[in-house]
């Protein structure tokens, strides 16, 4: 009685039955026939289980049980209809369970065994994560895939809310295949055997506080555990200066849970596990911000040798030293990349990039990253339109006339590719201040000259000069120093 048939691959089915007779039986004669079989197929079995083909519509089954000496004592006939056959996929086989301790991530790989089934069927994989000595279920996820009549290796990642070192993590998986054309009941497969990633609390010298010296974002919820030797007791665990309630993970591991972590000091927040007065263990947690996208990215040159990019960094990350926010400048046209030396304590952000021969246009991407995140800002710039000359130097005045003078000044830089516009400010005590603009071809580390006429005789003047690009004004240089000159008497 209770004849049940299950198929795992839609072609063969495994039938099982019960024998109610109290008498000890030796073996069973099993016969089956279907509409497209010429004659019944029979065979003997000692088990109450056989594997026979799945019928197109139904099968007639005859089961005869005999005693040890071979005398038949019970015969029963069954008709198995297609709708009576249930379908459950074979138990999935986990190929690998790989931990990435740095990210507390488990990577699970398994085969979908798709070659057994027709193409295009929907498959659902239920994955269970268990933890601690008591193997408590901490997560159950349903993963979906489509079968392709080939054996495909599926991969899935799960990030734990606590470091994998803290305690052992276990994974098991089962599968459900939606065989739409199958009329019988459909069921989940059995759970796969459990795969384990052992925690440090199972290792002889596994003691420590985890995660070790890690960086997290402000606002994160963080689980920090203390793994100790068997028999040791944790007196208390503190985060910064605050004692936290402990969560027991195993006989050698307890954890604390810090919610909504706030920014740490420059040297990080200490998490101390006090085992006894003289035994301290600990870790340092750095809590900071991902970098803000740089604002007001400006790139200009003051000498056509170096391009200087500046930007506003946004909120400080709160991370320093080797965890600080790092900047790099990538120029897409030339493919050149420059890393920027930035002093995190200094609010001004500057990065230099060499002016490249025969390149006027630059497509910059300022890459910004720290252990918590990364971002970037881009800028396309025509260098000739971003000239911000250095301050004119060595301003000298010459002239032996009562109404005109010649000014000479030097600008550090190579401006041969552009014209310069220079502005001369003419002041004299009682006279109205005047501005005189003069444009001239740019030169290479040159001295520039301009003549001023229509001055007043025997008058003391103060002159200063500043320059910019003539064709595409961008920014004036700073003013030069003031030079005084008195015109000759008339």
């Amino acid at each position: 009685k209770n004849l049940k048939c299950v198929t795992h691959n839609l072609r063969k089915m495994i039938c099982t039955w019960d024998v109610s007779s109290k008498r000890r039986h030796g073996q069973t004669d099993f016969c089956y026939t279907t509409s497209n079989l010429p004659s019944p197929v029979c065979f003997k079995t000692k088990e109450e289980k056989v594997e026979i083909p799945v019928p197109d519509s139904s099968s007639m089954v005859t089961i005869t049980t005999s005693s040890i000496v071979g005398t038949a004592f019970a015969t029963k006939e069954f008709e198995i209809h297609k709708k009576d056959i249930s379908f459950a996929p074979l138990t999935p086989h986990i190929l690998s369970l790989t931990p990435d301790f740095s990210t507390s991530t488990l990577n699970l790989k398994w085969s979908d065994n798709g070659s057994v089934f027709p193409n295009g069927l929907d498959a659902f994989w239920q994955i269970q994560i268990l933890r601690k000595e008591a193997m408590e279920k901490v997560a159950q996820v349903t993963y979906y895939s489509k079968l392709t009549h080939e054996d495909i290796i599926l991969s899935w990642n799960w990030t734990s809310d606590m470091p994998l070192e803290c305690t052992s993590h276990y994974v098991k998986i089962r599968c459900y295949i939606n065989v739409t054309q199958f009329v019988g009941p459909k069921d989940w497969s059995d759970w796969s055997p459990v795969e384990e990633v052992p925690g440090k609390d199972t290792e002889p010298n596994g003691s420590g506080v985890f995660p070790q010296d890690t960086v997290v974002a402000v606002g994160s919820d963080v689980t920090i555990c203390c793994v100790h030797e068997e028999g040791q007791q944790i007196e208390r665990m503190t985060y910064g200066s605050e004692v936290y309630p402990m969560i027991r993970l195993s006989s050698r591991s307890s954890a604390i849970r810090v919610l909504n972590a706030s920014a740490s000091d420059t040297s990080g927040t200490n998490v101390v596990c006090r085992l006894s007065e003289y035994v301290l263990d600990g870790t340092v947690l750095f809590v900071g911000y991902a970098p803000d996208t740089p604002e007001d990215l400006i790139c200009e040159t003051s000498n056509f040798l170096i391009i200087k990019c500046t930007w506003k960094p946004g909120r400080p990350s709160g991370l320093y030293g080797k965890r600080r926010t790092k900047y790099s400048l990538f120029e897409r046209i030339s493919g050149k990349n420059v890393s920027c030396a930035v002093n995190e304590m200094n609010r001004e952000r500057v990065c230099g990039f060499p002016v490249l021969a025969d390149q006027k246009t630059y497509h910059f991407t300022l890459g910004v990253s720290n252990p918590i995140g990364q971002t970037e800002s881009s800028l396309l710039v025509d260098l000739t339109q971003r000239v911000h000359p250095k301050t004119p130097e060595k301003l000298t005045i010459s002239g032996n006339s009562s109404t005109s003078v010649r000014l000479h000044w030097f600008i550090n830089g190579s401006f041969a590719e552009i014209r310069l516009l220079c502005q001369i400010e003419i002041s004299s005590g009682h006279l109205e201040q005047k501005m005189h603009n003069v444009s001239m071809p740019g030169g290479k580390f040159s001295i520039y000259t301009a003549q001023l006429n229509t001055l007043h005789p025997y008058t003391k003047y103060q002159f200063r000069v500043r320059c910019s690009a003539a064709d595409h004004f961008w920014r004036w240089s700073d003013w030069s120093r003031i030079e005084e000159h008195t015109t000759l008497e008339a």
């Binding site: 420590g208 506080v209 070790q212 010296d213 910064g240 200066s241 000091d265 420059t266 040297s267 990080g268 927040t269 200490n270 998490v271 101390v272 007065e277 003289y278 301290l280 263990d281 600990g282 870790t283 340092v284 320093y320 030293g321 080797k322 600080r324 002093n343 995190e344 304590m345 200094n346």
Partner: protein, 195 residues
């Protein structure tokens, strides 16, 4: 002391000892200040107990009374050479971990390192007067910090500074001991001796 001093050697030794005592006193107060800064900036519990730091000779010694002058100088020199290496290591690690974020702590560490180096040189000078000369430095470097977690490094730094503070006290006592009259090398203590 090994052989009877010439008057100039004795004068030179007394001068070196009294200057050494003042340097040890200054060093001690700076180390105590540095300790407070270090504990506060590293977020440590001032009462935390720290295991002995490998590579640092303990200041406390049972046979202090019986030590000869040379033994005192040699032990002091070994200690301050060790501290010089350890403090340099701490300074480098502090730079790597914090960059410019904690310049105050970095400068305080550098200042004490300078004093430790000066004191080591001072001891070498005293040993030269022994015509024994200072021993050559041992090649064995300290534990590599990369084997230690950040928290272990913080505790280790605490241990180094605490031990250095102890040594500064002991050094002053040792140098005072050297200036005390002993058979054959009587050196009257000079008034400017106590730190």
């Amino acid at each position: 002391m090994a052989a009877a001093d010439s008057p100039s050697d004795a004068l030179r030794r007394r001068d070196l000892c009294s200057r050494g005592i003042r340097l040890a006193g200054k060093m001690r107060s700076d180390v105590v200040d540095l300790l407070d800064t270090y504990v506060e900036r590293q977020g440590l519990d001032a009462s935390a107990s720290v295991a002995a730091v490998e590579g640092v000779p303990a200041a406390a010694t049972e046979h202090w009374d019986e030590q000869t002058g040379t033994q005192r100088l040699l032990e002091n020199l070994a200690a301050y050479r060790a501290f010089r290496t350890l403090l340099a290591q701490m300074l480098e690690d502090q730079q790597e971990q914090l960059g410019e974020a904690d310049a105050a702590l970095g400068q305080a560490l550098a200042a004490v390192l300078l004093q430790v180096s000066a004191f080591a040189y001072h001891l070498e000078e005293l040993l030269r007067l022994e015509s024994l000369g200072p021993p050559s430095e041992e090649a064995a470097g300290p534990t590599s910090l990369s084997d230690l977690s950040l928290f272990e490094r913080k505790l280790r730094g605490l241990g180094v500074l605490r031990e250095l503070a102890q040594w500064a006290v002991r050094s002053a006592r040792d140098l005072r001991q050297l200036t005390k009259p002993s058979p054959g090398t009587s050196l009257a203590p000079s008034p400017a001796e106590s730190p």
